[in-house]
């Protein structure tokens, strides 16, 4: 089995290196095919591992090599395939196989085709390290690796100013959070003396609550950055500057869920500090509704889906914070399927519309893009949580968790968010695919994507439909061997049915309302004149609560001013000046003394004599001083030196 572990881990690396060989050359189709193949190999190996874990119920642990061994510090490159990591591996490899195949079609006309596959496979490799590592140090390497690949891929079209800006924003935001994460890891090492998960978590019940709280907080700060939780959330929407397959893979299905994975992995820690758990859950619920409201008005289909991702991550954190780790992991898995599907559908739409992102400029695309419409509609149904699709089982379960644990505020917020989710999802569906044709006037002639791209999306569709009711039982049995096995059932049947059916009706109403509002013939391309666009609420939401503005005005600008001051005053006037000063002294002394080197033998002899005299007199002075050192010391001490 160890062989399959290594295959699953390193096949993406091989694919990435192979594609990297052709990084600078022209588009070669086989590069895309071969790197997709390696990801598929990794997927197959992960499936074999999954079946092994399912069958035996045990985990596979390997220690590939020693990484650091100094004194008491011992960190190996160790990997573990257990119930949690195998879930993540399946999600990562499955979605990335599909995204790789899809990208062969999507990046068809791009000059950086080969480079793209190299980055994308490198991302998969980093993500595999992240989820498979059996210690915090390996996790951190993967964590940074996915950050790097995310930066490379957001800024993939580096000639676009906005793309490079977004890439840097994402990278810097993640650095801030990673500092927290590093501190957390240091605290773990400091207090438990090891970074191995099993040993560290085993040692944690012996620590005092305050230490554990700090560890929990700092690790969660790292998770907040990667999973774009408030207040480090702004990068995720801007990250949509990258190619759409990247948004589907990294910024929806896998990388952003790394934060949730970290919290789930550290469940033994968070179980000891329920107050931090409650904070995580509250923040998750807040982010859920906060992002959902921003998605309501946005006029960029990718950003709407990005906010929806943010909102769903909020759900996952709410579940994890309340101790329902397996529910969080389950929602993570289901969400990866339908959200990747949604993004890839959006990619089809973008291709058809020549990178137009404003749904108000589309309309009526359902006629020319029937398959994409069906795929995206079903993905949205799954996201909205309608029975019997995946979202119903995973998202409604989170609502139930909040209800059963009697956190009614969180429950209320999440319920409201469920309605908003349905509304904004179907708002863009209605705007894109239904209603009046608004794009022909703008000169667009939409066409359906390549057949194989649509076929590549099919597995995601199937999983988005069936993963809920088919996997829930088996998933629960598998992961609860590691995670707390809390079953969430509302005992009172009447309450249960009221809640479930009530939620369904609420969501259906939201969908109906979205269709009704955005399918009518009178929809125009907003031009900033309507009463709604001038209302305060709309302005607040479209400007993302003015948070990016706030960051720009009160963090970036002062920091820039401070940097300018430091550059001009400290760097130029002190650091540079002292270095330049030393050089100047040497230069000018050389300039002054070069007169000696006249080449005239007579002058040089004079200098030689002068040197001789100086050396002789020095010898005499030091000789005398050495001979009379005792007296000199006495005199000097008499003078008080």
């Amino acid at each position: 089995m160890e062989m399959f572990l290594y295959i699953a881990l390193f096949a993406p690396l091989v694919g990435s290196l192979f594609a990297g060989l052709f990084g600078a050359s022209k588009k070669k189709l086989f590069v895309g095919i071969i790197s997709s193949f390696f990801i598929f190999v990794s997927f197959v190996a992960s499936s074999i591992l999954l079946s092994y874990v399912l069958k035996t119920g045990s985990s596979i642990q390997v220690e590939m090599m020693t990484w650091m061994a100094t004194g008491d510090l011992y960190i190996p490159f160790g990997f573990v395939v257990d119930q949690i990591s195998v879930t993540m591996m399946m999600v990562v490899t499955l979605v990335s196989t599909i995204v790789h195949v899809y990208a062969i079609g999507y990046m068809d006309h791009d000059k950086g085709f080969n480079r793209f596959f190299s980055y994308l496979s490198a991302f998969v490799f980093s993500m595999m390290i992240l989820v498979m590592s059996d210690n915090f140090a390996g996790l951190f390497i993967g964590w940074e690796g996915v950050g790097l690949c995310s930066w490379l891929l957001i800024g993939f079209w580096y000639h676009k100013e906005s793309a490079t800006w977004a890439a840097n924003e994402a990278f810097i935001m993640n650095r801030i959070a990673d500092l927290g994460m590093l501190i957390g890891i240091f605290l773990v090492y400091w207090n438990t003396g090891t970074l191995q998960y099993t040993e560290a978590f085993a040692a944690m019940p012996g620590l005092d609550t305050e230490t554990l709280t700090w560890i929990g907080i700092f690790l969660f700060i790292g998770a907040m950055g990667k999973s774009a939780q408030f207040p480090l959330h702004t990068w995720l929407a801007d990250a949509m500057e990258g190619p759409t397959p990247v948004s589907a893979l990294i910024h929806a299905a896998t990388m952003v869920t790394a934060g949730v994975y970290l919290v789930v992995r550290s469940n033994e820690l968070y179980a000891l500090i329920p107050h931090i758990g409650l904070f995580i859950a509250s923040l998750g619920a807040f982010v859920a509704i906060f992002a959902a409201t921003m998605a309501l008005v946005n006029r960029d289909i990718k950003r709407v889906i990005a906010y929806s991702t943010l909102s769903q991550l909020g759900y996952m954190f709410a579940a994890a914070g309340l101790g329902a780790y397996w529910v969080a992991l389950f929602h993570l898995m289901a969400h990866a399927f339908f959200k990747a599907l949604l993004f890839l559908g959006a990619g089809n739409v973008m291709h058809a519309m020549h990178d137009e992102l404003d749904p108000f400029k589309m309309g009526g695309l359902g006629k020319s893009m029937k398959t994409t419409m069906i795929l995206m509609t079903l993905a949205s149904v799954a996201l909205a949580g309608i029975f019997p699709l995946a979202g119903f089982f995973s998202k409604d379960l989170i609502l139930e968790v909040a209800f059963i644990d009697q956190h009614f505020i969180i429950y209320g917020v999440l319920l409201l968010t469920a309605g908003l989710t349905a509304f904004y999802s179907f708002r863009i569906i209605a705007l894109i695919f239904h209603g009046e044709d608004r794009h022909t006037a703008l000169g667009h002639h939409p066409h359906e994507a390549y057949k194989f791209m649509l076929w590549a999306m099919a597995p995601l569709l199937v999983l988005a439909i069936i993963s809920g009711f088919l996997f829930k039982g088996g998933f629960f049995e598998m992961v609860t061997q590691l995670l707390p096995a809390t079953e969430y059932h509302i005992d009172n049947a009447a309450t249960y049915w009221t809640i479930t059916i009530g939620t369904q009706i609420f969501v259906l109403l939201a969908i109906y309302f979205a269709y009704k509002k955005y399918m009518c013939k009178s929809i125009k391309i907003p031009d900033g004149t309507s009463a709604m666009e001038n209302s305060f609420k709309y302005k607040l939401l479209i400007n993302q609560y003015y948070i990016p503005h706030f960051y720009e005005e009160y963090l970036v600008k002062p920091y820039r001013a401070l940097s300018t001051i430091f550059w001009e005053k400290v760097d130029n006037k002190i650091v540079d000046a002292s270095v330049d000063g030393i050089a100047k002294i040497i230069y000018s002394s050389g300039e002054k003394t070069r007169g000696m080197q006249s080449g005239n033998l007579s002058t040089m002899l004079k200098w030689m004599v002068a040197g001789l005299v100086i050396l002789l007199s020095l010898a005499v002075v030091f000789g005398l001083a050495a001979r009379h050192s005792v007296e000199i010391t006495t005199i000097l001490s008499g003078l008080g030196v």
């Binding site: 070069r594 080197q597 006249s598 080449g599 005239n600 033998l601 007579s602 002899l605 004079k606 004599v609």
Partner: protein, 102 residues
């Protein structure tokens, strides 16, 4: 009548050394420069011989012989070069020799 002792020799040697040094510094004629260096070397020889005699140790006098031998060879080489220089440039003025100007 004063006995002539080591100090007298050393004073003589010092005076000769200073004369030699001044010669090295002031002379512009290459031939005179060689004379000046000879004076320098011989002032040292005097000191060697005197000190050697004073200590009753022959090493100093042996060293003086070495110096004489080396001075002779130096002058032989130097004079050869000097003659070549004189044939080329028709003078032996030091100020004209500044091809090594940095």
């Amino acid at each position: 009548m004063m006995e002539i002792g080591l100090n007298h020799y050393l004073v003589l040697s010092t005076i000769l050394f200073c004369i030699g040094l001044v010669g090295v510094m002031r002379r512009k004629n290459l031939l005179m420069l060689f004379f000046a260096t000879e004076i320098l070397l011989n002032s040292v020889n005097i000191a060697f011989a005197a000190i050697s005699h004073f200590h009753g140790d022959l090493t100093g006098q042996m060293f003086a012989f070495f110096v004489i031998a080396i001075a002779a060879s130096e002058v032989a080489v130097g004079l050869g070069l000097l003659i070549v220089w004189h044939k080329r440039h028709n003078n032996i003025d030091l100020d004209t020799m500044s091809t090594m100007k940095g």
